[in-house]
Symmetry: C2
């Protein structure tokens, strides 16, 4: 047994010196004495791969760098490889080779894990090494560690999360500042949250990859990213947030994973109207949050900054400290199952529907006839005066989604309907994943038309 | 190196078979296969000490039990002692002996750590063993682990927390159900949250002990529990919550730790009025929450159930899994400093003040003269009609607390004042510890009298 004051040396090889990689080098430089004192580890960046390392001498200092990844991957002195390149290839190849050569890996690459986690995690296990990926989901928020560790003796029944900061920023700015969608998206782009092509974020795909990773840990089984059903927020307009506010609700971009008593799993990303006092309603702007329902520990929520160079670098370093202190070959929390889940595709929610119609009597009658034909019961209707297109808002009772989609398809074909219908699911429960029925309706609903 | 599929055996000795101890035995029994699969550890309760173990055969089964703690403390086969007795003695003596004999310790005992953590943690370090105490603060919420580990490379500047479930339950029931204090306390007692003598909870002492533990980890220095300045919630009445609601605020029982740029630390437990959209406003009933402001990772919040047998037992087990996977003598995160901080005792807040007065003209004039004499500036005044005592509510601008206390002492001596003045601090900032000035005032404030 070593003396506790002994400081363990750990050498890392860094792949990729972008903003997060730079953050890792900087924090390790600034905080090495603190990490030695607090955790008994001395973590040094021993070697760096970056194609343009020559332009980054300011942060590199004396650290040897190369534009050939082999110089890192073939170095037998390294304890861990930190992959911060992103994307599928060559990151996948590099991570695979690092694991096969017996090196631990820490990565922030959600796309890689969502696509190849099912093979990379067993590969790590085979070679007695670990993969740390705290930084891949919700940046600085310790959701991976807590899912794998704090709730290790629990059964997770549901996750309700806000995993895409760009989408949440857009919806909260639309709500708070009265912006419309395009304006809020522009602001997100100006602030550097949103990419020039925002589809990956606002279309729900980014959140879908993160949800696949979280759900795999939560439900202890491999999950392919295409098992996640994804809807974006692009159709939501400022008036939908106004209607929501009139019902004392807010709209948030949710990622929801549920395990049903029969073992089936549902994984979905879509916007939802939440009661204004719901815990996830307090998650604003670019913040992320993960709410976990467990059997023993009850619902718990973690919220904070989901992205950014420094927060993500701090998460990478927390993985390094954890791996450095771990006994070799032990205490890696792995997935015990690798069956593909049987996904649930039927759901029951109440729905907010907004139709843009011509301004003439009888429109509501046409719409309500089609809804009735699919056994969809209306809780309230609000029809607004003004120039065409007129907004007709319908809040349903709990419906079968497949029936609703059929009804919306029929309604969209009516001559009196001027644009594709908008639909947003409504969640009633306060801070748990159970129950999706309730009674809140738009005030002043009067069913004219 | 062992093969990864090897399962590590860990034998625990359990001191105390109350509700949490029973939860630990039950969960380990139910979940042993899961823990072996997920974490590679086989954790068995090998020996139990409980004075009335004979009455608890239902949960003990074949586990050897004794009413002599020496049978646990002297057993050389045990890897860890789990202390779930509570209180200072004999728990302190047992934990000290366990550490001295080279056993790891896991405990849920906040009183023990707040009083003796400053000697027990160095003792553990000396004997190359660890103390796990995730369950001591905020039950199932992984706040200890995250403070020690996820933010290991960060500087924590502030903690804002709700650490006492009983106080939070009372204030939220007063707010939601229109109950007065005594009625909400009775409900908390009926539901088993509050003790027959609730002083430890509602007086802020429980939260004070927990805050001392959290702040020691956050600021990396030993903190004595009597360094925490504590105020209770006993003086708050339903009408204070109504006045808060009129300002779009809620009242929550906060525990606040701050580190100032000059290195001084302030530690306080008191009720505060928060904006209704503050993240801590969404923390209702018996839930706990801890919001951490850090240098690299930004503000992060963890919320969920802070107490209960199963959540606390799950936290104990997460500590056991963590310790079992740790390399001996390594990766224990300890406190690097043991200097007593220089506590800050001057603060500046805006204050809500409520005076109960006789119904005659001139009362406001007397009160405002005394406030002005202490340089305390009034933001708004609201005086309510009705039977004596009349409520006179004053919201101040930012004040020096010492000056305010002097003014309140003088005002309390006025003939026209019928009861001790009520004061509640107002926090303005949204989700961070910085800044305590703002402008929200009671609507309709008109300064009559």
């Amino acid at each position: 047994m070593k003396h506790a004051q002994d400081v363990k040396q750990w050498k890392i090889g860094l792949l990729g010196l972008g903003t997060v990689g730079r953050g890792v080098v900087e924090i390790l430089g600034e905080r090495s004495a603190i990490l030695a004192a607090r955790a008994g580890v001395d973590i040094r960046v021993a070697r760096v791969f970056d194609r343009s390392w020559r332009k980054k001498q300011d942060v590199l200092g004396d650290i040897p760098a190369s534009d050939n990844a082999d110089d890192v991957l073939n170095d037998p002195e390294l304890d861990v490889v930190v992959e911060l390149i992103g994307g599928l290839e060559p990151a996948h190849d590099f991570v695979r080779r690092a694991l096969e050569s017996g090196k631990n890996v820490v990565t922030a690459n959600k796309a890689l894990l969502a696509r190849h986690g099912n093979t990379l995690l067993p590969l790590a296990r085979k070679h007695q090494v670990s993969v740390g990926f705290e930084a891949a989901v919700a940046g600085a928020l310790p959701v991976i560690r807590n899912m794998r560790r704090s709730f290790v003796s629990d059964d997770v029944s549901a996750i309700h999360a806000i995993l895409n900061g760009t989408s949440n920023f857009i919806l909260t700015r639309m709500e708070e500042d009265g912006m419309d969608y395009a304006e809020a998206l522009k602001l997100a782009q100006d602030r550097g949250f949103a990419e020039a092509d925002p589809t990956f974020d606002v279309g729900g795909f980014d959140a879908g990859q993160k949800l696949a990773i979280l759900a795999a840990l939560a439900f202890d089984t491999a999950i392919a990213e295409d098992a996640v059903i994804v809807e974006g927020i692009e159709t939501i307009r400022h008036k939908d947030l106004s209607f929501a506010a009139a019902m004392n609700r807010v709209i948030r971009p949710l990622a929801i994973a549920r395990k049903f008593p029969d073992g089936r799993i549902s994984l979905r990303v879509h916007a939802a109207m939440l009661p204004a006092d719901h815990a996830l309603a307090a998650v604003q702007d670019e913040k992320n949050a993960v709410m976990i329902d467990t059997s023993n520990s009850g619902p718990a929520m973690i919220m904070g900054l989901g992205a950014g160079a420094r927060p993500t670098a701090a998460a990478v370093i927390s993985d390094l400290v954890f791996l450095a202190g771990r006994e070799s070959g032990q205490s890696q929390i792995w997935l015990s199952g690798f069956d593909q889940p049987n996904p649930v595709t039927e759901f029951e929610y109440r729905f907010y529907l907004r139709f843009q119609t011509v301004d003439r009597p009888g429109v509501l009658s046409e719409i309500s006839r089609i809804l009735a034909g699919e056994q969809i019961s209306i809780a309230s209707v609000h029809q607004y005066e003004g120039a065409e297109p007129i907004d007709l808002v319908v809040v349903t009772h709990t419906v079968d989604e497949a029936a609703l989609k059929r009804a919306l398809d029929s309604i969209a074909k009516l001559e009196s309907i001027l644009a594709a219908p908008i639909w947003i699911r409504m969640k009633e429960e306060h801070q748990s994943g159970e129950g999706d029925s309730g009674s809140s309706v738009l005030p002043g609903a009067d069913g004219r038309g």
